[in-house]
């Protein structure tokens, strides 16, 4: 891993708020389309890919804290650690050259989703009683009725939604980065890891 300080150029600092706004705006767009995905970490993944794992982690962390402190979605704030992990992993996968072939992109997204589910499950179980208040709670209900504990059921809920969600997010980011002109990409500290 390179030194984090080099990644925080002015362009990175400007990209981060735009990325957080992308998280919020796309998340709400998907919500209005009533599609069973969240897609609320596209911006976080984008920063991880273009500006490295540390900038990605910071984007995820701040994203969820702003979601909480602005009152827009207070239930997101406790999951800030999971969001930071998503940005961190996106950066690490890009660094190791996983963002050059589409199937590796999808695989990286699936793994990231799995890690996010592992981190989120104890938070959901402890703070929110293991439920999300959304449709995926059916999974929690099924696992509970089979006699599984609160934590495993909450983890099962995460596995049922997070890996697919992150795979789609990674894929969208990959498509977008490939569509961007090299002249633009060259401004970012980690542009080399994509093209």
């Amino acid at each position: 891993m390179q030194t984090p300080r080099k990644d925080f150029t002015t362009v990175t600092l400007v990209l981060i708020p735009v990325a957080i706004a992308i998280n919020i705006a796309v998340g709400q767009l998907i919500y209005t389309l009533k599609i069973p995905l969240y897609l609320d970490s596209i911006g976080t993944v984008l920063v991880g890919v273009l500006a490295g794992p540390w900038a990605g982690a910071l984007t995820g962390l701040l994203s969820n804290l702003i979601w909480g402190l602005s009152g827009l979605n207070p239930t997101y704030a406790p999951f800030a650690a999971a969001a930071a992990a998503i940005g961190l992993l996106a950066g690490l996968f890009a660094e190791s050259g996983w963002l050059r072939a589409w199937w590796k992109v999808v695989l990286a997204g699936l793994i990231t989703g799995l890690v996010a589910a592992v981190i989120s499950a104890p938070i959901a179980a402890y703070v929110f009683g293991g439920v999300t208040g959304a449709g995926t709670d059916v999974v929690v209900a099924i696992f509970r009725s089979f006699g599984f504990g609160v934590l495993p059921s909450s983890f099962a809920q995460g596995v049922s939604s997070d890996p697919l969600d992150k795979a789609v997010s990674f894929f969208i980011v990959w498509m977008i980065v490939r569509a961007l002109p090299m002249r633009f990409l060259a401004r970012f500290p980690r542009a080399g890891s994509v093209k």
Partner: protein
């Protein structure tokens, strides 16, 4: 800031006049109390004895109750239905056989709902009574790097603009025949034509913004002054320390209870 993200309710109350960091430490105190203290009803005691009076002092009690209700209700319903009724091998409390409310599940659901209410209401109380730019100015005065406060403030300003842009893109694509209703497959096909233009158009701004803030001495290392002066009452630093010590006390109490069980 004319239009910004957030739920801030303008007001002149004593809570509005508190230093943002004082309110932030109060949120931390409530969160740690709600999440760390043992017992089923402790969170509810905290809600009635701390959060509600604070909201009443800030003249936002009605807004807070309404917003907390809206956010927490789906969680509460889910947790009561799933954990209350489907608690494996629980003692039936109401009803009989498979369709019965279990005593253990009910206790768990009541405890969880208390925690959910604590988290949601404390964040909302902060959002209702704190101007986002005042929080940033206060953080900057405490030596938080300008880059970090820039990120937070810029986000709050960009989000409303992005929402407007998202609405415009939806309208434009609909005008070109994109269907945003119908079956799940139909709606899923709409994701890319909506998301990709939104992200690409927002990235175009990045370069321009970077040049703009660099031209305004963003990277200049010297001392910068703020347009907003954040004032605080003489007792506030003491109140902050009390809240921090109280929060540490909650953690120690929790530890003590866990060890003596």
């Amino acid at each position: 800031m004319t239009e910004a993200l957030g739920l801030y309710v303008p007001g002149e109350s004593r809570v509005h006049q508190l230093h943002p960091l004082t309110k932030l430490t109060f949120v931390g105190f409530i969160l740690l109390g709600g999440l760390a203290l043992p017992g089923i009803w402790t969170t509810y005691a905290l809600l009635f004895l701390v959060v509600a009076p604070l909201a009443w002092l800030g003249r936002v009690l009605r807004e807070l109750v309404a917003a907390t209700w809206r956010v927490a209700l789906p969680f509460a319903i889910s947790v009561f239905l799933i954990q209350g009724f489907l608690w494996p091998n629980g003692t039936p409390f109401l009803g009989s056989g498979v369709i019965s409310l279990k005593r253990e599940g009910l206790v768990f659901a009541v405890t969880s709902t208390g925690r959910i209410l604590t988290v949601v209401s404390s964040f909302l109380w902060f959002a209702f009574t704190t101007r986002p730019d005042a929080l940033m100015a206060a953080l900057a005065q405490r030596g938080v790097p300008a880059s970090l406060t820039y990120i937070l403030l810029a986000t709050l300003q960009i989000v409303p603009r992005f929402r407007a842009r998202a609405a415009a893109i939806i309208d434009a694509q609909r005008a070109r025949g994109l269907e945003t209703g119908g079956s799940l497959l139909r709606r899923a096909q709409g994701v890319l034509p909506l998301v990709v233009p939104l992200i690409l158009s927002s990235l175009i701004d990045v370069e321009e913004r970077a040049l703009a803030i660099e031209a305004r001495a963003f990277n200049h290392p010297g001392l910068k002054t703020s347009l907003i002066e954040i004032e605080q009452a003489a007792w506030e630093p003491a109140a902050r320390w009390a809240a921090i010590l109280g929060a540490i006390g909650f953690l120690l109490l929790r530890l003590w209870f866990s060890l003596n069980r």
